[in-house]
Amino acid sequence: MTGWHTLADQASGPLTAAQWKLVSAPLQGKIWLEGVAGGGKTSVGAARVLHLLGRGVPAESILIFVPQRSLAQPYITALRGWTAHRGGQVSVQTIGSLSLQMVETFWFLVAGDAGFKHPQDLPNFLSLELAQYFMTRAIEPLVDQRDYFNSVRVDRPRLYSQIVDNMNKAAIVGFPISEIGARLKSALASGVEQAHIFDDAQTCAVAFRKYCLAHNLLDFSLQLEVFRDYVWAAGLARAYLRGRFKHLIVDGAEEDNPASHFFVNELLQSCESALIIYDRDAGFRRFLGADPDSARSLRDNCDLEATLDETFVMEEAVAALGAGLGAQLGLPVKAERDADPAPALITEAHRYHPAMVDWVARQVDILVHERDVSPNDIVIVAPFMSDALRFGLADGLAQRGIPLRSHRPSRALRDEPAARTLLTLARLAHPHWNMPPTNFDIVFALMAAIKDLDLVRAKLLTEMLYQDCRLLPFAKVRSTAMQERVTFDLGERYDRLAAWIDRYIDGDRVDAIDIFFRRLYDALLARAGFGFHDDVDAGNTAQNLVDSARGFRWSLDFMSRYDEQIDLSQDYVKMVDRGVIANFYLRDWIADAEEGLLIAPAYTFLLNNRAVDYQFWLNIGSDGWSRRLFQPLTHPYVLSRGWPPGALWTEEDERNLSRETLGRLLLALTRRCRKAIYLGYSELSESGFEQRGLLLEAIQSLLRRYARDGQNV
């Protein structure tokens, strides 16, 4: 075995002859590799990177390009695992990270031409939360004044996020934002009211863009446009990137968008080698602009086409189930005629939702404790993971001693106990905001802030001592019996907290909100006897809140140059309350445990791109499995590159889309399952409604056919 064989084995385990052939292909040449999930394409990619390094290719000249972070994990793991490497570092990028770096680097050469009003000032890149915040600032007066969107029953942050979404779609597809309204109207407007809504969305998009140009703000759409239309076009970045990246690995091309494909295509003109990996049945991120058809165009610039269609994952019955469901829903897949899918399915019908959740926990218990299945090899998925469902599962599994991890990309910081506590104490310490915390908030904050303070005592303290928006001293509890009930030890710690806040209120200094959080954390909450002491989760959450607040402050400090004065701290807390700011935090993904059973929305699991032995599909009667999110201001297909101008989006289109989306999802799930799928079904949903969704219908039809026809389908 040669050295690089060993390296590649380290990356991904033993590979087949077909995989080796691709891994060891000549260092010049561009390969298009497509196939089904579980065929070993990413293993080829990871092994190829190590092969390139092993053959002396400088690491700096290798670019791994992925649509989102989770898809790069096998590469990062492989590179980190190869401790013997001496040399430079391979780059791992997405279109977002790369365009940001390039725009930042070449900003002063392009900002004037790109239409920014202050080209001599630094750019201010906006995270999603900041984009929504500035969207609110830029257009809310307009929305209020002209009564925009008055017929749409969706809250403002969600409306604004759809306007941001429209602008992003325009940027990744490559049409001007001024065409958004016309495109939506021509395909979707069924009446005057609907047409007005799209006109409003158009006006708001243009207003937000003007605001950004006037204040040196770059949301993702503007960042991408500046990168493509100015930085890349100007030549400097092109020369730099083409000069640097001579070897390209693109994984998950079908999940990426046309702007990424444009960039990859440009690099293909100059690189020495490339491996473009394409999953034939995926494209799950369409709602984020993924365009598998656009990805396919990259094939034309490759020298060699290869296919890996033999799956190494599924047992026969699981394969039959996936193919059967796919065919049932109209996908062009061949149903497995010789295999019966029934052995791959385990199910039990329940009348009520909690009984279904309990059944799931019991089945997991049997797998783990009686059949020695590792929790890492089990995943529980549902179309959406509500807090109640997560809690029910987590509780049932914890009682049975089963470790779990949970992925949900949009956990609001204000829902984390440590963040809630800091926000409540901030309101208390800033009475001039006129945002007094409720009694409930104070009870919760005292419990979290003072170690060993239980709910009963926290309520007592709040009822007796929280008056006129201040925490009175413990000595104000008149009855000694009541003091003894609370205990003097807890009372002393309560006093330290109340005194700290009083000193802050009465002092001369008003801290920036992130500094306030840090000072309170440092001086009190993280000290012995208080709730955050030696608590890793509280520290991480507090740091996330500090980072979010600081990012907010930095963005708005910058705005003060342009004569917009704002009370930053108060505005921050307001925006967190409204769910605009700190509504999700990506770092939580990093901090998430790496071991244990995974509970996640189905698409989140798919984008982790790993296979497991057993899957649990919950709420199979829910139409959330096939239905698009309700987004009245945007549309992923109508605003895609392939949508014919002037065509109408019909109800039939919607039905076909539902079937196709569900078919692809089920095919993808089964291709990431080795042994069996447990179906969690209850007649009544979590909210008590009858459930008869498309997934349930498809499974029933498939099983009826097998029952009727035996194996001769």
């Binding site: 989102q68 570092q89 030696d534």
Partner: protein, 276 residues
């Protein structure tokens, strides 16, 4: 808990261990984030750190081909930074070899672990000298003996000798060809230079190997006895080691390197999502 198997040692993590084993444990083994204040004047501290980061970015932009005058136009509102920039332009690059790599990362391995160095600038002439340049924006020139003992001086030279061949026409770089320059742009771009030698490299390797092995085998990570090292440590309250130190007492350059390194390692972990 033990150190993750794929942990990469850097000068920053090793310096943390040298300063306080407990801090190393909290930061890199328990991965405990602890948002306490580093100094009594956090906004001034933050301003200085941002100025330092901005200066590093300016140099990178310049070395990637953005004209100096385009960059200088953006400095009108910060005279201090403009002064650093002028010093850099006047003397920062003088006498350096022509082949230059800015913001480049190299890695080697030692005692079964990865050892990573992120350089501000490498200026090389294949067959000739190999200069490591590290920009410092602090306004105090430390004693040469202090810098010589810093893990940055030890790690950067060692990693270049071990892992820089591909930048040096494929030839390994003899330690005697290597020099490390700390350039103090706030002090007229004054340089403190450290030559290298095979003997020094042998000593450095023994020291680094000993530290890495000690960390890997450690059962306990004791808190430092030297309480002066706690003044600017964010875990101070956890260890009950007093309040935040004064800004004028802090060696800002040390923090600047560490912040930059952490940002880089974080970037590698956190490839930006398409956020919409």
């Amino acid at each position: 808990m033990s150190l993750s198997p794929d942990f990469a040692f850097t000068q920053g993590s090793l310096q943390n261990f040298a300063d306080c084993a407990r801090r190393f444990e909290l930061r890199f083994i328990r991965r405990m984030r602890y948002p306490a204040l580093e100094t009594q004047d956090p906004l001034q501290f933050e301003k200085r750190m941002r100025q330092g980061a901005r200066f590093h970015k300016l140099v990178q932009q310049h070395l990637l081909g953005v004209p100096a005058e385009a960059l200088a136009a953006s400095l009108a509102d910060d005279r201090e930074l403009a002064g650093w920039w002028q010093n850099y332009l006047t003397r920062g690059l003088s006498g350096l070899p022509a082949q230059r790599f800015s913001e480049i990362t190299l890695q080697t391995h030692l005692s079964g672990r990865r050892l990573v160095a992120k350089y501000d600038l490498l200026a090389l002439e294949p067959g000739g000298s190999a200069v490591i340049v590290d920009w410092k924006t602090g306004s105090r020139l430390p004693p040469q003996s202090t810098l010589r003992r810093r893990m940055q001086t030890i790690v950067y030279r060692y990693v270049l000798a071990q892992a820089g061949a591909h930048l040096y026409a494929g030839e390994s770089i003899a330690p005697e060809r290597i020099r490390m320059d700390y350039v103090y742009v706030a002090l007229g771009a004054e340089r403190l230079s450290f030559a290298y030698s095979a003997a020094q490299m042998g000593e450095d390797e023994a020291l680094l190997s000993k530290m890495i092995t000690a960390i890997d085998n450690a059962d306990e990570f004791p808190l430092t006895d030297d309480e002066r090292r706690c003044r600017f440590c964010s875990y101070r309250s956890l260890c009950d080691r007093g309040g935040a130190g004064r800004l004028e007492d802090i060696e800002l350059d040390e923090y600047e390197d560490e912040e930059e390194e952490e940002a880089f390692l974080l970037d590698f972990d956190q490839i930006a999502e398409i956020e919409f």
